[in-house]
């Protein structure tokens, strides 16, 4: 099947250029923006909305939620999952994956994330409605994961959101981000302002062992570090980091929750140097983005990675029962 579209609009490397939200979805756009600012983002590519659209039209999936009823949804999702990929698309994904794997320094796994176009704007949040699949280690699993992300566009919740959002939100299109999975030794969240007083001269870092979900979901009491206007650590409060989320050791599972050995619960998760490094990076990102930012990242194999950045919004900040895992 030949595409009438320029191949460069099908697979975009997010760490090489700034990409448009309409093509790569919110998550993809955010990542490419971070990369363009010089933040250390793990390597990633996006399968654009056009890939989805080509595939969807080839198997006659409707474009809009208003065109289907709830009863149609399971059938639609089934078709997306089961229909074979056109060889050209399969080749595209395989070649992208191989390039990614070839350049990998950090781990041998990738994470696959839905990146919807209507997500993560300041007004509304579709965050948590679409899928994330972690710890993908081969092409077959990757293809399955991509289809799972495409199918999530047609989950009951996603469809009802699109219907509620009115006509503008109803254009069904989804990008997929495939990113090097960072095996976080330590995960952190930085607020480039005091979360209570909103004082922008102060940074607050929370950090804990393993993948970021433990910090983000409130699973543990993380370490809390305060960085002052000069970039120095003024306070390091050690939290009781009694649990951590780490990659599962069985294929097919994503992650597991394990206890942290006693010896490490009260050990600081970050050195002062690491905390200051995080502070500098976060400040640079926030000032270039032009807003007070909530930035997630990790330290893996001694290197600092930035995974996500968004405006500090206490209302739209996802917590608790999110489907998404940001790690």
């Amino acid at each position: 099947m030949a595409f009438a579209v320029d191949p460069d609009d099908l697979l975009i490397w997010l760490t090489r250029s700034t990409a448009e939200r309409a093509l790569v979805g919110g998550k993809g756009a955010s990542l490419s923006q971070l990369a363009a600012l010089g933040a250390p983002v793990p390597a990633a590519f996006a399968l654009t909305t056009r890939v989805y659209q080509e595939f969807a039209s080839a198997i006659a999936i409707p474009e809009r939620a208003s065109q289907v009823t709830d009863a149609d949804l399971p059938g639609i999702r089934e078709r997306i999952q089961q229909a074979p990929l056109p060889p050209a698309i399969e080749a595209l994904i395989t070649s992208g994956y191989e390039t990614l794997r070839h350049g990998q320094t950090c781990s041998s796994a990738v994470a696959v994330r839905s990146s919807a176009t209507a997500e993560d704007s300041a007004e509304c949040s579709f965050a948590g409605l679409h899928d994330t699949i972690l710890d993908v280690r081969d092409v077959e699993t990757l293809i399955g994961a991509v289809k799972q992300c495409w199918a999530s566009l047609w989950s009951d919740r996603a469809v009802s959101y699109r219907r509620a959002g009115g006509f503008a939100a109803d254009e069904a299109a989804i990008g997929v981000v495939v990113q090097e999975l960072v095996p976080s030794d330590v995960s952190f969240v930085v607020f480039t302002a005091d979360p209570v007083s909103n004082d922008g001269d102060v940074l607050m870092i929370t950090a804990s062992w393993g993948l970021g979900e433990a910090v983000v979901s409130g699973l543990v009491v993380p370490d809390q570090i305060v960085i002052d206007v000069d970039g120095l650590v003024t306070d390091y409060k050690i939290g009781d980091k009694h649990l951590m989320i780490i990659p599962a050791d069985k294929p097919g599972q994503c992650t597991r929750e394990v206890p942290v050995p006693k010896a490490l619960r009260s050990l600081p998760a970050l050195t002062h140097e690491q905390a200051m490094d995080i502070g500098r990076t976060a400040r640079s990102i926030a000032s270039q983005l032009g807003y007070k930012a909530d930035i997630e990242g990790a330290i893996a194999r001694g290197s600092l990675y930035i995974l996500q950045a968004r405006p500090i919004t206490t209302l739209t900040r996802p917590h608790g029962n999110q489907v998404e895992v940001n790690a």
Binding site: G210, D249, P259, P261, A269
Partner: protein, 560 residues
């Protein structure tokens, strides 16, 4: 820091009492000292301990407030109490200091052994050997000086012993706790990673096994297996291959023969009484076991288990992986030192002291004071010293011989007694918040456990596995030598000289010890079930009785 060594002989029949001016709890360490100690051993070992342990503890910032050892009916009772902090703040400060010191010591465990402790021990052993050679020609005054030197050397040996023992035990305890936190499971699992460490004890066992092989090659197997131990020397000396074998045996004993049965300076060494190593060699022939092959197999088990653990940890944060490797390294050094320190200090140190004092005994036979050289062990160090310091004392041969006679009689009576586990105030449960305290608990085994059933004994799990068989109850190493392949060894305690028996026994049950005790560790090395700390085992079980042992639960079931 107060140090005292009390030595009192009570009027027999027994009265079990502590000295009136001492208070608190005094323990009878049945694991190391199930038998009464000879007067010389008591009067030499006890002060050495009472100096050595507190000195080492002080250096580790865990000072002792009380360190007393006394003998009652020639059984040793000891008290080692940590200093009590006066306030919460002081307690925290103590704890932090001790922790910080221990952390450094754990990191230096191997380095200190090789650079400091082993050279010091070797120098002491070498000097003791040298001094022994001087006894024959020394003047009385010189012998007094040698006795003082020997006693100082003894104190130093035990100080070194405890400098090693505390961090060694703690290192293994911390690794075990960490391992269980991360991987779950039970005690047995973490120790697999520590198997197969090469040590002098291991080389000694391999040397013995090799001697068994050469005996087989020389066609001596029937002779060794079919004759009682006390006739073997004359039988072997009567043939050419037998004599060849004895030469090889003596060469082996020159290196590995400085060891005795349990901790009594009075016990003959393997070099003196070759029926002991010969009985061990016979055991190797009877079972056909190969020490070298078993050692290699243990090494492989450790390597496989370590690899598996590392694979499981691959998805863990670097901090946990780093901690694991660090703790594993330290625990392996600990496992090595557990055998090594015992070989050099507990075995060779005491054997050299034995030889030295036995030489003095021979000198006293020459002087007409003693009837037999080993009567010297019936005297206290001070009494012995006085004989050489004071010509008048030396002249009173009748008095000395009567004293020796009386002491022999007391020892014979003492051997029939069962000492109480403590004297003075009843023991208190120590706080378990301190890992060092937990380590000691798992080494010594804690208070007696109760079993629900009347036909069962409850002990501590020592080594996993279940087996049923005929019991062989042995209170001494001599008795244990009767152990037949497939029998279950039931003893009060098993210290390193008993190790070769683990190759024959189907399982081991001891009355003393916990999962970190020597018996448990060796049983795991040999892959046989063991229950340790089963109080009353040697009284309730009879030789020949069928028993079942479950090393995983610590339950011993008595049949018939």
């Amino acid at each position: 820091m107060v140090i005292e060594m009390e030595n009192e002989t009570k009027a027999f029949p027994e009265a079990w009492e502590k000295p009136a001016h001492l208070s608190g709890t005094f323990h009878q360490d049945a694991m190391h000292f199930p038998n009464p100690l000879s007067p010389l051993a008591n009067s030499s070992l006890n002060p050495a301990f009472a100096v050595g342990l507190p000195t080492a503890a002080q250096e580790l910032n865990a000072p002792m407030a009380n360190a007393h050892i006394f003998a009652c009916n020639w059984y040793r009772f000891e008290q080692f109490d940590r200093a009590e902090p006066k306030s919460e703040a002081e307690a925290r400060a103590f704890h932090e200091q001790a922790e910080a010191t221990m952390k450094v010591e754990l990191g230096r465990l191997g380095e200190r052994w090789h650079q400091e402790h082993l050279p010091a021990i070797r120098a002491i052993l070498s000097r003791l050997a040298e001094a022994e050679g001087e006894i024959q020609r020394a003047s009385a005054a010189q012998i007094v000086a040698i006795i003082d030197e020997a006693e100082a050397a003894h104190r130093e040996l035990w100080t070194i012993h405890f400098r090693i023992a505390f961090p060694m035990l703690l290192g293994m305890q911390l690794f075990d706790e960490f391992y269980q936190e991360v991987f779950g499971g039970t005690d047995g699992d973490s120790h697999v990673l520590l198997l197969g460490v090469e040590s002098e004890s291991m080389k000694a066992a391999i040397g013995l096994s090799d001697l068994a092989n050469s005996a087989r090659d020389l066609d001596l197997e029937p002779a060794l297996r079919e004759n009682p131990a006390d006739q073997l020397l004359s039988i072997l000396g009567a043939t050419e291959p037998g004599r060849k074998f004895l030469v090889a045996l003596d060469a082996y004993l020159d290196e590995y023969g400085y060891r005795q049965d349990l901790f009594d300076m009075a016990s003959p060494t393997w070099r003196e009484d070759r029926t002991i190593p010969l009985a061990n060699i016979r055991n190797y022939l009877v079972t056909g076991r190969e020490a070298r092959a078993e050692y290699e197999s243990r090494k492989q088990s450790a390597e496989a288990a370590t690899k598996a653990a590392r694979e499981q940890l691959a998805s863990y944060p670097e901090a946990i992986r780093g901690q694991f490797e660090g703790m594993l390294g330290i625990a392996r050094v600990g496992s090595f030192l557990q055998e090594e320190h015992n070989f050099y200090i507990d075995q060779q140190g005491l054997a050299r002291l034995h030889d030295l004092y036995l030489s003095i005994g021979r000198r006293l036979v020459q002087e007409g004071v003693l009837a037999e050289a080993d009567d010297v062990f019936m005297l206290l160090v001070d009494e012995l010293r006085n004989l050489f310091a004071n010509p008048d004392a030396m002249a009173q041969t009748d008095f000395v011989r009567a004293l020796v006679q009386r002491r022999h009689e007391e020892m014979e009576i003492a051997k029939t007694l069962t000492p109480p586990p403590f004297l003075g105030d009843p023991p208190q449960e120590p706080p378990a918040g301190d890992p060092m305290v937990r380590a000691m608990g798992r080494f010594f085994g804690g208070p007696p456990l109760q079993s629900a059933a009347s036909d069962q004994l409850q002990g501590n799990p020592g080594s996993r596995g279940t087996v049923s068989g005929k019991a062989r109850v042995a209170r001494t190493l001599d008795e244990a030598m009767n152990l037949q392949p497939g029998e279950i060894l039931v003893a009060v305690t098993t210290m390193p000289p008993w190790t070769p028996l683990f190759g024959i026994a189907a399982a081991v049950v001891t009355e003393t010890g916990g999962p970190l005790s020597h018996c448990a560790i060796v049983a795991r090395e040999y892959g046989i079930p063991a229950v340790v700390g089963a109080h009353g085992a040697t009284s309730r079980i009879a030789t020949g009785q069928t028993i079942s042992v479950d090393g995983g639960t610590g339950v011993v079931t008595l049949h018939e």
